[in-house]
């Protein structure tokens, strides 16, 4: 187990280094950093001095190592557009994105697993057929369309929920949360549903097909033949055996939820990391883009690590011999 974690950690570090190289390449070679920072009327000699002072004339390897060193200390330079340290920018936007991603992951998990189990246990009921048909819509409709549709129904027509922004937030010092105010919670509902819908249908369909598969196995038949209760069989014996693939997909999807909240954040003008990224792309704010790239890679690497460890917790067959 420990050896396994160490091996995975080493792999994660390698992945992060590769991503860092790409981020560094973007940072260093997409456009000229000096040209982006100074005005058109700065003299060439001054530009040269700046270039020397920022170390841009050093060998590439030295610059890359410096980039990594800075990254390790959470230092990604100054945003061209907003003239603030990039790390500060991202951290200030992060709570919004994490709250949104977490809320939608919860919605997706709870309803995905619940509906998946239901449709697997009652495959013949009309309710299951309805859920399955609706899930097709969830899988095939693009996120922005769902978002706009929800805004149209619940904000424009019914006027129940706000259509944009985060509502009132409470500052906890290191975390600005929207979960403690009514307007914050109300604002969260539509974007969270929008972002969760695709994952929800995906998890539901996965749980359903895995569950149907497991219910046909011999050990479920044997459990029936021993007179165990339906409940113990369905939720104790069957559901647990569907969990490994579900954990994999949910984990990867959680990464995607954070990474691709961009569309949802744009539709709802949600002040998160995704909208920060979109705004930065529009003006080629390279330091922000590079840092965002590193951040998303880190999210994926960490989630993958957690998923791998969870396998071990769920499935004893993986534990021996590691």
């Amino acid at each position: 187990m420990l050896a396994f974690i160490i091996r995975r950690l080493a792999q994660s570090v390698l992945v992060m280094l590769v991503v860092a190289l790409i981020a560094f390449a973007v940072f260093r070679y997409v456009g000229d950093p000096i040209a982006s920072m100074v005005g058109v009327d700065t003299r060439l000699a001054d530009q040269e001095i700046m270039r020397e002072r920022l170390g841009l004339n050093d060998p590439v390897v030295v610059q890359f190592l410096r980039f990594i060193g800075n990254a390790l200390q959470g230092e990604f330079g100054i945003s061209y557009r907003l003239q603030q340290p990039v790390t500060e920018l991202i951290l200030s936007r992060l709570p919004a994105t994490i709250e949104l991603a977490f809320a939608s992951a919860m919605i997706a998990l709870i309803f995905g697993v619940g509906l998946g189990v239901f449709t697997a246990l009652k495959p013949r009921s009309p309710a299951s057929a309805l859920v399955m048909a609706l899930s097709l819509i969830g899988v095939s409709l693009p996120t922005f369309l769902i978002g706009i549709g929800l805004i149209y129904i619940f904000s424009v027509e019914l006027g129940w929920l706000p259509s944009f922004g985060r509502g009132q937030v409470v500052d906890l010092g290191w975390w600005r949360t929207g979960l403690l105010t009514e307007s914050g919670l109300k604002s969260l509902i539509l974007p969270a549903i929008t972002l969760s819908l695709f994952q929800l249908t995906l998890i539901m369909r996965l749980v359903r097909s895995e569950m149907l598969e497991v219910l046909r196995t011999e050990y479920i038949r044997f459990a029936r033949a021993r007179g165990l209760s339906q409940r113990a069989i369905n939720f104790g014996h069957a559901l647990k055996n569907t969990l490994v693939p579900v954990i994999t997909i949910t984990g990867l999807q959680l990464g995607s939820v954070i990474a691709f909240a961009i569309v949802t954040e744009t539709v709802f003008q949600w002040p998160g990391v995704g909208s920060l990224f979109i705004n930065s792309v529009q003006v080629v704010d390279v330091p922000v883009m590079a840092a965002y790239l590193m951040f998303i890679a880190l999210v994926f690497v960490v989630i993958n690590l957690i998923v791998d460890i969870l396998y071990y917790v769920v499935d004893p067959r993986l534990r021996v011999g590691g």
Binding site: Y219, F222, A225, R226, G227, L228, N241, D315
Partner: protein
């Protein structure tokens, strides 16, 4: 004579399909006495396992019992509501499946699976159930049971796992054990041990066994009586010695001829020509008629029912007087 523990009468199981109704079992009747071992033999698809599934009420959808009755200790069980049937399964009828590698849930410890089953049927505390489980595992021959009980199924070999399965099937001390090909998936070297363990334990608790297998050798050594099945029907049923020595039905005679014997000087084992008909294409008359060496006119048009030709022996064959039409 004592009352039978299990009494099956005219059991008929049907599967509605797109191409009409398939009859998987037709007019199957037999009794099992307390403590008796009834062997059920036949080729694949003869309806042996289907009979076992019907008794314990686990026929796969869309199959259903179309006709007939099943009585357990005098109580009719084929039409019990699911909740009541649950109390029968495991508690009064135990079932052992063919493949020990797939019968155990891979994600739970052996202890968890046995304790769960014991506590479903008996009012025991966790500790008492666990103690009982250790005792059971010890009885089925698992060395160092107290320690190994907390292992997972994948940490046991096939033979050991089948012992665990037996312990699970017997943990609530059922009166009847249905063993569906309990040794087919195992090494020949451990087959005899598993059968012995099962027989011993059942003899201790007085449980009757319905032993489903296609291995006549196992039947010969284990069973008191044997039912030979063919195409969803009982071809012949009687005391095991009598059937082996003097099989009445041409099909059972063929099966007995296929038992390898050390003493016989035969060059080759006898085989029955042809194959069992598919359920959708059972011929009119006696289902065995295309393969029967003694076939005559009546066999082609009239279907024989398993009828008593001697005390304790029933045969479904027109060769014998007194056989009724099905």
């Amino acid at each position: 004579m004592a009352d039978p523990i299990l009494s099956v009468r005219d059991l008929t199981v049907e599967f509605p399909t797109r191409h009409g109704i398939l009859t998987a079992l037709s007019g199957v009747s037999f009794d099992i006495m307390p403590g008796e071992v009834l062997g059920v033999v036949g080729e694949s698809g003869a309806g042996k396992s289907m009979t076992g599934s019907a008794v314990i009420g686990l026929i796969d959808r869309p199959g259903r019992i179309a006709k007939g009755e099943i009585h357990l200790q005098g109580e009719r069980i084929d039409n019990l509501p699911e909740e009541r049937m649950r109390g029968v399964r495991g508690k009064r009828i135990g079932m052992i499946f063919q493949d020990p590698l797939t019968s155990l849930n891979p994600l739970y410890r052996i202890s968890e699976q046995i304790v769960e089953t014991i506590r479903t049927h008996l009012p025991l505390s966790k500790e008492a159930a666990r103690a009982k489980a250790v005792g059971l595992l010890d009885r089925v021959g698992i060395p160092d049971a107290a320690r190994r009980i907390d292992d997972y199924p994948h940490q046991f070999s096939g033979g050991m796992r089948q012992r665990v399965v037996i312990a699970l099937a017997l943990c609530a001390e059922p009166d009847l054990v249905i063993a569906d090909e309990p040794t087919t998936a195992l090494d020949v070297s451990v087959q005899a041990q598993i059968i012995d363990v099962m027989k011993e334990l059942c003899a201790e608790t007085g449980a009757a066994i319905m032993l489903i297998t296609h291995d006549m050798g196992v039947i010969a050594e284990t069973a008191d009586r044997v039912a030979v099945m063919y195409a969803g029907r009982i071809a012949e049923i009687g005391p095991v010695r009598a059937v082996i020595k003097d099989a009445k039905h041409p099909y059972s005679a063929g099966l007995m001829g296929a038992i390898p014997r050390m003493s016989a000087d035969l060059e080759r084992l006898v085989q029955i020509p042809g194959a069992m008909p598919r359920l959708s294409a059972i011929p009119p008359g006696c289902p065995f008629n295309p393969r029967c060496p003694h076939v005559f006119d009546r066999c082609l048009t009239h279907r024989p029912a398993a009828s008593e030709i001697e005390p304790g022996r029933r045969v479904a064959c027109w060769l014998y007087p007194g056989v009724q039409e099905a």
